[in-house]
Amino acid sequence: MKNRLEELRKEKGVNQEKLAEILEVSRQTISSIENGRYNPSILLAFKIAKYFGKKIEDIFIYEEESNEY
């Protein structure tokens, strides 16, 4: 799943540390989400969406996986 977290965060002018503090998660969590290494829980996704004043689907982009057997 891709996301626009880094882009939106930079647009808003907050650093990872500050965003982590606001969302009550660790800085590593923010960094991992931005790098696409970690997909947040639905609760955290809602928190992020609420903070940026956007819908979840505007931030997190679902990509259908191609199942090749």
């Binding site: 982590a20 503090e21 009550e24 998660v25 660790s26 590593q28 969590t29 991992s32 955290l44």
Partner: protein, 141 residues
């Protein structure tokens, strides 16, 4: 139970275990009493529990609000929790194989059957605990 109560309880329990260990060490050192074997185990467990309890109390009474907040965030961070759970699950998978190999080795070593039975019981208990929680969470989720 809140963190403060837990901290006090664990600290007191830890100290009690350390003193029990000292009592055993002083009184049973020169005798053949089997309780003497418990001394070092009690000392180890007591120190561990006391350290954990004291840690909780230091966090509770810490005047540094930022430190308190960052410890709480680190503790409740969903990624940290997910990593911990995943590591535990991997360790469980490894344990199942290691434990069964160990029991096989014990059985072939012709050691006391009681020891083998205790190990098998512990192994089965772990497996049943897994099944129990699977059923429980299946109903809850």
């Amino acid at each position: 139970m809140n963190t403060k109560k837990k901290g006090y309880l664990l600290s007191v329990l830890g100290i009690a275990l350390i003193f029990t260990a000292l009592y055993f060490f002083i009184n049973f050192r020169s005798t053949e009493n089997s309780l003497f074997n418990l001394t070092y185990i009690l000392l180890g467990i007591g120190s561990g529990i006391f350290g954990h309890g004291l840690g909780e109390l230091i966090i509770v009474y810490s005047k540094n609000q930022n430190l308190k907040k960052s410890i709480n965030i680190q503790k409740n961070d969903e990624r940290t929790i997910a990593i911990n759970n995943l590591s535990k699950a991997k360790a469980y998978d490894a344990m199942i194989y290691i434990f069964s190999a160990l029991i096989m080795i014990m059985a072939f070593m012709n050691i006391n059957p009681v020891a083998v039975i205790i190990s098998v019981s512990a192994y089965l208990f772990i497996i049943f605990t897994n099944v129990f929680y699977k059923i429980k969470y299946n109903k809850e989720m």
